[in-house]
């Protein structure tokens, strides 16, 4: 059994879902996503047992492109994130009715397929293909099943697509250039290429453009809030929970090891950008009227910190950012789901129209509050572990980075609690608000359980990712 199994499961799942018809689609999709989760756990087991779960097949001879999937700890961690979040996301959508549900769920699985592929690909071009493929389903999900004014939505979604595509095409150019030097797209060959500082700089920049837009790092974030707002919540979850991790993951996997000189040279600038994102995102989030937009900006702030951690080029920074990626993935999915739960009852996302929910639905309030607290990295949640590690690594570079990056714990608390206060607290709302249903509760509970468990015991994840990260660091520091 190797890593391609999970890809196959997801792909077959996508087709099976499409052909199962609107009524069954959601269940079939859930089934396949759970199968993928199971598969990834089995793979994890095999990996831990020392089995080789990588695949390499030649695909195109000239230019030499291989179908190479590499299951190492880092990739597996991200795959697990995807495989775990996908069922949650699908399950969380059970409360909604979608027209043309078969297409909807098929696209979700297809997107999971592409994202898993991105995390596993060990060939530059294959990676790029998966990277781009992931864009298409989310585009349609946001376009067709999105909400809000149709014209606005179209604009936002097209902007998103073009913008992200723009970034990634430069990455493609960089890959082609690298291919000229390496004679192969295989990641290990790309790692070996010797590039001059100037070449590295441009390649680094090309990669950066792709990732900065995807992650997003300011000032390339302008697509984000609008798309998060306009997309259906499932889409937003996929985007924020998994897809933007693609960018962060790629920084670690591709950008840094391929252009280490540039990474070292311009480290401070990129860290600074990440941290600027933290502060900017937090401040903008403060005054958002739309719940999803607020969460979008909070996401901007968090990923800014993760990116900053990645660019420190230290084991701590890398490890912290990976953990933070996973933690953020879960928490942001939870938060967006909470927004969706409110939307299901109130039909609005305007914070101003909410309030006083707590009295009517204590369970929901508690769950939401835990997610809010996790998002502000309260110790004992997994987010804290990640954020602490990242901040620590930043402090090793320059204490000011840690201080400025650390403002997230103040500003984050400010906007999140403010939001919580206006959404949940206050005088009992005149509109009734039914407490969470069983389905909703299960989704929340799983997320919260994961966050708390790893908050106290992050060792499994640390042990899983550390060897790969060390390898990456070795490549970075080879010169």
């Amino acid at each position: 059994m190797n890593v391609s199994t999970i890809l196959i499961i997801l792909l077959i799942g996508a087709f099976a879902t499409y052909f199962s018809g609107d009524k069954l689609a959601s269940k079939v999709a859930l089934l396949f996503s759970l199968a993928a989760l199971g598969c990834s756990i089995v793979l994890l087991n095999n990996y831990n047992a020392g089995e080789n779960i990588s695949v390499i097949n030649s695909w195109i001879n000239q230019p030499k492109i291989s179908f190479a999937l590499n299951g190492d700890g880092l990739g597996l961690a991200m795959v697990l994130l995807t495989a775990a979040l996908t069922p949650i996301i699908i399950f969380s959508s059970f409360g909604n009715e979608y027209k043309n549900a078969k297409g909807f769920y098929a696209l979700i699985l297809f997107m999971a397929f592409a994202m898993v592929g991105t995390f596993l690909a060990a060939d530059g071009l294959l990676y790029y293909i998966f990277w781009e493929l992931a864009l298409i389903p989310i585009y349609f999900i946001a376009l067709i099943w999105g909400n809000g004014d149709a014209e606005e939505r179209r604009k936002a979604v097209v902007k998103f697509f073009i913008y992200t595509l723009a970034g990634s095409l430069f990455m493609l150019t960089a890959f082609i250039y690298l291919y000229q030097k390496a004679g192969s797209f295989l990641i290990e060959d790309l790692y070996k290429v010797n590039l001059s500082a100037c070449e590295q700089f441009w390649i680094f920049l090309a990669f950066f453009l792709a990732y900065a837009i995807k992650i997003p790092i300011i000032p390339f974030h302008t697509w984000q809030a609008n798309v998060y707002q306009k997309a259906p919540t499932v889409g937003t979850m996929l985007l924020s929970g998994i897809m933007l991790k693609m960018g962060l993951y790629s920084v670690l996997r591709w950008q840094l090891p391929i252009a280490p000189l540039a990474a070292k040279e311009y480290m401070t600038i990129f860290i600074a950008l990440g941290i600027a994102g933290v502060i900017y995102g937090s401040i903008v989030a403060l005054r958002q009227k739309d719940l999803k937009k607020l969460l979008a900006y909070s996401s901007l702030a968090h990923v800014g910190l993760i990116a900053a951690g990645s660019y420190t080029l230290t084991l701590d920074g890398l490890r912290g950012s990976v953990m933070q990626m996973i933690a953020h993935g879960f928490v942001v999915v939870g938060l967006f789901f909470a927004a969706e739960v409110i939307f299901r009852r109130y039909e609005t996302r305007e914070i101003g129209e909410m309030g006083g929910i707590r009295t009517q639905s204590p369970k929901f309030t508690s769950m939401f509050l835990i997610l809010v607290l996790a998002s502000v990295a309260l110790p004992s949640t997994f987010n804290f572990v990640g954020e602490f590690t990242v901040l620590y690594s930043l402090s090793q570079i320059n204490i000011w980075f840690a201080i400025l990056g650390g403002t997230t714990i103040i500003l984050g608390a400010y906007y999140m609690l403010r939001m919580f206060q206006h959404v949940m607290l206050g005088e009992t709302n005149s509109k009734t608000f039914a407490d969470v249903t069983l389905n909703e509760g299960v989704s929340f509970a799983v997320i919260i359980a994961v966050l708390l468990f790893f908050g106290f015991y992050p060792k499994p994840i640390t042990d899983l990712i550390t060897p790969s990260l060390e390898t990456i660091l070795q490549v970075i520091n080879k010169n």
Binding site: I60, N61, F140
Partner: protein, 463 residues
């Protein structure tokens, strides 16, 4: 050679069927015939042979491209059935003209003598003039035909002048002779001038900037099937011929001998950049789908022209690119034909809600547009990838960056159509599921994706 004969014979058969009153059988028989021709052509593949005093020189290049042309013609003929439903008396003419046009196209890529080339291009052009103007009661079609005719003849004149100057320099029309003497030191300047004039004439045919103005108008005015033909077959033929002209007559080395290579390459780069940029930018504001695809075609011409910079190595890439582009084009046009068959225009509004009324066709159109935009797994992506790879290898990284930027712009208008299909409400009932249109659309897009999954199949043909 056999291919050419067979095609011609098939064309004449078409005409005979009309006389024999077998109209219903024309399209199936022609398709079967073309499939036979394809098989015949396939048998010739790999043989390097010249026929009749090197009038026809069969090579891998010519057979590979001929196969592509034949495949495209099969699709176009298949689409004819529904398109000419209202013109039963003319169907044989239409089909025959298409088949003859194919003969011209095959002659253009397998010529061994400039006479064949010239006749080939004229057959192609005249057939296209006729097809463009074929909706005789429609003023737009008349206008399109007239515009195409005037400008096309003008371009033919220039090509002819170029041939004449080459003849003046070489004293021969035979390309192998020209190939040999192209490197001689004594070469008069007539040869490069003649070549340049021919290249300009061909640039007109591929609709490269600044010789592109005819394309949008003619594409828009022509009957949709003709537009499909022009934007797929004709464009592919033209670019392949241009490539062959430059490659087979040792033009590059000759220019190098005379220190003109650099300026020529600059020109190619400029035209390539101008074509992609103008094509893509102009397409942004179009509401007529055919017109939009015309501009898209212009930009793709710009991309394809990049192969001229690496003539010695990029035949395979060109074949791949053209195949990807043309297959996507066929798929797109079959949907357009379906959607706009009862409409008097091809505005984007006609496509509103296609995703709901005809999900399959909408998916096909989406896929073909994505392919043209260069989104992975569709062959359009690999085409661009190989092209960029080739071009970067030759050192034109700046050109590739411009091309990349253009790819980004192109998404803007391709997606306009996708959005119209999926996020707007349908404004008309669409009934009927014409089998041939569906089949063409699906088969061509499947071929496109298959090319994407197994690019080596085509890419390595010309190694």
């Amino acid at each position: 050679m056999n291919t050419l004969i067979a095609i011609t014979g098939l064309g004449i058969f078409c005409l005979l069927f009309e006389i024999l009153n077998l109209r219903k059988a024309i399209i199936p028989i022609t398709i079967l015939g073309l499939i036979g021709v394809l098989a015949l052509n396939y048998c010739e593949f790999g043989t390097e042979q010249s026929y009749y005093n090197n009038m026809i020189a069969v090579s891998k290049f010519s057979t590979a491209f001929s196969s592509l042309f034949i495949v495209l013609t099969i699709f176009l003929v298949a689409l004819s059935h529904n398109f000419y439903q209202n013109h039963p008396t003319k169907i044989s003419d239409f089909v025959a003209i298409k088949v003859f046009l194919l003969a011209g196209a095959v002659a253009m890529v397998s010529f061994g003598n400039l006479a064949m080339f010239f006749l080939g291009i004229e057959i192609l052009s005249i057939a296209l003039y006729v097809l463009a103007a074929s909706d005789r009661l429609n003023i737009k079609s008349n206008e399109a035909g007239m515009k195409y005719f005037l400008m096309g003849s003008f371009a033919s004149g220039i090509i002819l002048f170029g041939i004449c100057l080459i003849y003046g320099a070489m004293g021969s029309f035979d390309i192998s002779e020209i190939h040999e003497s192209a490197l001689s030191a004594e070469l008069p300047i007539w040869f490069p001038i003649g070549m340049i004039l021919m290249v300009v004439g061909m640039l007109f045919k591929v609709a490269a900037v600044p010789f592109h103005f005819w394309a949008p108008d003619v594409y828009e005015g022509s009957p949709a099937l003709t537009t499909a033909l022009m934007s797929t077959l004709a464009k592919v033929v033209a670019i392949a011929t241009l490539f062959k002209l430059i490659a087979s007559m040792n033009f590059i080395s000759s220019l190098e001998n005379q220190d003109l290579l650099h300026t020529f390459e600059v020109i190619v780069v400029i035209i390539s950049i101008a074509s992609m940029s103008v094509g893509n930018i102009m397409a942004l504001r179009q509401v007529n789908v055919k017109r939009m695809l015309a501009f898209s075609g212009i930009s793709h011409a710009g991309f394809m022209l990049m192969t001229l910079l690496t003539v010695s190595a990029s035949a395979g890439v060109l074949l791949y690119y053209t195949a990807a582009y043309a297959l996507a084009g066929i798929a797109a046009f079959s949907v357009i034909l379906y959607v706009c068959r009862d409409q008097d225009n091809e505005d984007i509004t006609n496509f509103h809600g296609l995703g709901k009324t005809n999900p399959l066709l909408a998916a096909v159109l989406t896929a073909s547009l994505l392919s043209m935009a260069g989104i992975p797994i569709f062959s359009g992506f690999f085409a661009k990838l190989f092209l960029f790879n080739q071009t970067i290898q030759a050192g034109y990284i700046g050109l590739v960056i411009v091309a990349v930027i253009n790819s980004i712009i192109s998404v803007g208008y391709y997606f306009k159509l996708i959005i119209a299909m999926y996020s707007k409400e349908p404004n008309q009932e669409r009934t009927g599921r014409p089998f041939l249109i569906y089949a063409t659309a699906v088969v061509s897009i499947v071929l496109n994706i298959a090319l994407g999954l197994f690019p080596s199949l085509v890419l390595d043909l010309l190694k």
